[in-house]
Amino acid sequence: MTRWAMVADLRRCVGCQTCTAACRHANATPPGVQWRRVLDMEFGTYPDVRRAFVPVGCQHCENPPCMDVCPSTATRKRDDGIVTIDYDLCIGCGYCAVACPYQARYKTQKALFAYGGAMQSEAKRHDDARLAVATKCTFCVDRIDAGLEKGLRPGVDPEATPACVNACISQALAFGDLDDPQSNVSQLLARTKHFRMHEELGTGPGFHYVWDSDAPRGTP
């Protein structure tokens, strides 16, 4: 089996938002819609202040609450763990959005463009099917499927890898098959300390956050 998953190394992320821009570009999302965004968190008080940049988006959960509540079966989970939305089935009730503990879902009621009217590039890629329905990160599923058909390896070959991962300037984002112990993400998780967000809810997120090395301090 295959379980596609993403790993964000919080030690490496610098909050540049390049992944956000790459996602916007790859998926032609309208203003205000960020399927991949990076939270800029500050903690503490001067002089003891810490900062963390945390990429978030759809966690492609093992037990997606958005799928269970969806009355139209528009939200589904593939065998490889990717949670999808059928825009032609979705009624835009927003139930999935309130069921998602990760604020990953958006609903855009009408067409929005960066500067009012649609620029040529925006008009070309605008899709009415995505209006008034739920949308979210797809793990760039089209790239993955097309890449697999060509014999490429998602997470390794850029053509078959989600746009945000390709764009990351610090290699903070990694993508791969968790069921393959030799995959990049499995190897990364094996040698680091990591967590998943809101683990206590039992959703089984497919998005892992690395926060420390598993090796003793000072070990190269």
């Binding site: 919080l10 509540v69 969806c70 009355p71 979705c90 009730c93 090395s213």
Partner: protein
């Protein structure tokens, strides 16, 4: 300890969604109460029409909330896991049963009551399944929504008392019991969420809870008690009962409105560890 931005009010469901829980709960409660109160004949038909009308109004609110209303029938596709679908199915059975009662099959009243209870139960489970909203996913939301629906339905039954004339001590006592049950269930729910909800969400609920406790419980119970003690002059009995019912129904509706539109804070984002930087890795 966790770190992360504070939770904020969800914006996906607004007063239209709240309208479904308010009207649907009232309508289902009214149908159930009408059957329990032994309404018959034209009174039963009228109460059934009113109850179904309220449920229909609630479903229409959902229709207004959906982004693609022309695909509304797709709501029926997922009875396997979706409580929204199950709510729609229950309504789809309840409506013909209700119409049959109106057309002269009063023996179906108890069946309609059971379906109405199932409907309001589905509504409660809808909120319970919304894992992204701590105030909704709390298990105690289920008895709370059911209890408010029944108490509001009983309230609307009393509002109609001057018209249908079905009153008397048993009806007033049953109304009082339902209002009391509702406030106890509310207090239990409040106790469970007090430590877990975001400040803003809990403060909003506290305000609505005070309205429920005073305006929706103490005041109507006092009015009903006066009637049961026989100190209310005859001509005033029905209007005062109607006032008691209105207060109970309005307070419950306000609580649900606040629950959806002001206490529906999400969980925010939280990370249990901060990244360790400056170390070789």
């Amino acid at each position: 300890m966790t770190y992360g931005p504070n939770p904020w009010q969800q914006t996906h469901w607004d007063a239209r969604a709240a309208g479904n829980f308010i009207c649907g709960g009232c309508g289902a409660g009214l149908i159930a109460f009408a059957a329990l109160a032994g309404a018959e004949g034209r009174a039963l038909s009228g109460l059934m029409v009113a109850g179904l009308g309220l449920i229909a109004a609630g479903l229409f609110c959902v229709f207004l909330e959906t982004g693609r209303p022309l695909r509304a029938m797709n709501v029926l596709i997922n009875p396997r896991t979706s409580w929204m679908t199950r709510e729609a199915f229950t309504a789809a059975v309840l409506f013909p049963v209700g119409v049959a009662i109106v057309l002269g099959a009063p023996h179906l009243a108890l069946l309609a009551a059971a379906l109405a209870l199932a409907f309001v139960f589905c509504q409660s489970r809808m909120l319970r399944a919304a894992k992204g909203i701590p105030a909704w996913r709390e298990p105690a939301i289920v008895p709370l929504i059911v209890a408010t629906g029944l108490a509001e339905g009983a309230g609307w039954f009393l509002v109609g008392l001057p018209v249908h004339g079905i009153g008397g001590a048993p009806v007033l006592a049953l109304f009082g019991v339902l209002v009391l049950v509702r406030v106890f269930v509310w207090l239990a729910y409040r106790r469970r969420v007090a430590a877990t909800l975001a400040r803003g969400a809990f403060d909003a609920l506290e305000g609505a809870g005070r309205v429920l406790q005073v305006g929706g419980t103490l005041a109507p119970l006092a009015l009903v008690a006066l009637e049961l003690l026989g100190v209310v002059p005859g001509p005033l009995a029905a209007p005062l009962a109607a006032l008691a019912g209105l207060l109970a129904a309005a307070a419950g509706a306000y609580l649900k409105l606040v629950l959806v539109t002001r206490a529906g804070f999400n969980q925010g984002f939280a990370i249990p560890h901060l990244p360790v930087r400056g170390q070789p890795h």
